[in-house]
Symmetry: C2
Subunit: 217 residues, 2 copies
DNA sequence: TATCTTATTGACCGGCCGGCCAGTTAGCGT
DNA sequence: ACGCTAACTGGCCGGCCGGTCAATAAGATA
C-alpha cells in the first residue's frame, strides 16, 4: 500500500504534473506581471511554458483562477519577507530603519513585487491575500506601540500612519522608477541616486518619527 | 470672407463635432480609468457617449490614440493643480505643508487622478506627459533649495527625495484605500481615519525635513 | 499483463472586439 | 440654389481569445 510514487526522478519523466504546474505558474507570473492580466493571452502563457493551452485549464480551471494562484503564490514570498523583517530586528527605532531598508532591498531584488502591488491597487475584485497582510500590519503596529510606550517613538502619531509612511516611501520609488530612467537617459546614474534616496528617506522618516526628547546617537 | 462659423449656438445643432469629441472623451475617461484600457470596449464608450462606435475612429483614429488623448487631457488638470500648489503658497516650510495638504485634497476630490497615476506606473509605452511633470519637479526642487540655503530645511537631504516623500505619502493612502475599506466593513469611519492620517503625515514629514536647529512654533 | 486514472493533445466553437467601408445627410461657402 | 466637405450611421469582416471535448497514451496499481 505504501506507494512508491516518485521512484523515477532520475530519467526525465515524460509526464510530470508538478513540473508542468510549476512551469505554467512561472510563465504566467512573468507574463501577467509585465503585460497585465488582461493583455496576456493564455495561449502565450502556454507557449512560454512549453505546454498546450488546454493544460492550463486542466490544471488551473480558468484564466482567472490561474491569476489568483499567481497572486497568492507571489504574496507568499512577499509575506514571508515582510514578516521576517518585522520580527527579526532587535528593539526600538532600529527596527524601523531595518524594516525600511529590508523592504527597500526586497523590492529592489523583486521587481515583480512592485508590479504586483500596483495591480492589486487597480483591480477591484476581492483580494484573497488581505487577511495575512492585515495580520502583518497588526504585528508592526504592536511593536510600534511598545516603542511609543517606552518613549522611543513619539506617541502623538497613529502607528498605522507610521507603517504606511515607510511602505509608501519605499514602494513609491520603484513605482515611479520606470518613469524616471525613461527621461534620465539609458542608465545615467540611477542606481547611485537610488542609494542616496534610501539614505535620505531613512533620515526623514526616523527624525520625523522619533520622540522629541530623544537626542539621536 | 470673414467666416461666421458658429452663428447658430442657440438652437441645438444636430451636428456638433466639438460636443461629440467632448462626450467621447468624457465617457472614455470614466470607463478607461475604472475598468482599465484593456477591459473597456470602444463599443461601450460609444454607447455611453450616445454615439456610434465609428465616430470614435472618425474623431480619434484608434483606441490607443483615444487613450493617449485621455491621459494627456487628464494630466492637464493634474498639472495645473500641482503648479498652483507649488507657486501659490508663501515662504519656507509652510509651502511644504500646503503642498502636501493641497495634493491630498486634490486626490481626495479626483479619484480618477489616483487611478491615472497607477496606470502610468504600470504601462510601459512612452509617456507624453513627462516633460511637463519634470518641469514641475524642477520648480519644487528650486524652492526647497532656497529654504535649505535659508536654513529652514535641513541641507543634508536631496530636494528630490523630499518631494517624493510628500507625493508618496499622499498618493499611497489613496492607492491602498480600496484595499482598506474592503476589510474595514462598508464605511466604518474611514473618512475620519483619513483626516487623522493627513495630520500625522504632516507631522512626520515636516519634523523629518525641518532644519535641526529650528524649534517649531 | 490487464486495468484504471489522469496528464496531455489538437481540433474546434461561440463570442467579442477593433477597425473598415459604403452610403447618407447636415452645414457652410459661393 | 448648388456642391463640397466632413460629421455621422449601420453593417460587416477578420482575427483573436477563453474555454470545451473527444481521443491518446503514460504511469500507477494489482
Amino acid at each position: 500500500m505504501a506507494s512508491a510514487k516518485k521512484n523515477l526522478p532520475e530519467s526525465r519523466r515524460r509526464r510530470d504534473p508538478e513540473a508542468t504546474r510549476a512551469a505554467i505558474l512561472e510563465a504566467a507570473e512573468e507574463l501577467f506581471l509585465t503585460l497585465g492580466p488582461a493583455d496576456t493571452p493564455t495561449s502565450r502563457i502556454a507557449r512560454r511554458a512549453g505546454v498546450t493551452k488546454s493544460l492550463i485549464h486542466h490544471h488551473f480551471g480558468s484564466k482567472d483562477d490561474l491569476w489568483n494562484e499567481v497572486k497568492q503564490r507571489h504574496f507568499g514570498q512577499y509575506y514571508e519577507a515582510q514578516r521576517e523583517i518585522l520580527t527579526s530586528s532587535r528593539g526600538s527605532t532600529d527596527m524601523l530603519k531595518d524594516s525600511l531598508v529590508g523592504y527597500f532591498r526586497f523590492l529592489q531584488d523583486n521587481p515583480h513585487a512592485v508590479r504586483y502591488m500596483s495591480w492589486r491597487f487597480i483591480e477591484e475584485g476581492e483580494d484573497h491575500c488581505k487577511p495575512e497582510e492585515d495580520q502583518l500590519f497588526e504585528l508592526g503596529a504592536e511593536r510600534i506601540r511598545e516603542a511609543q510606550d517606552g518613549g522611543e517613538l513619539r506617541a502623538d502619531i497613529e502607528p498605522v500612519t507610521m507603517i504606511k509612511a515607510f511602505l509608501a516611501m519605499a514602494l513609491h520609488w520603484f513605482q515611479s522608477k520606470p518613469l524616471m530612467d525613461q527621461i534620465l537617459g539609458p542608465e545615467e546614474d540611477l542606481d547611485a541616486l537610488e542609494e542616496r534616496y534610501l539614505e535620505d528617506a531613512v533620515k526623514i522618516l526616523l527624525d520625523g518619527v522619533r520622540s522629541r526628547r530623544a537626542t539621536a546617537d
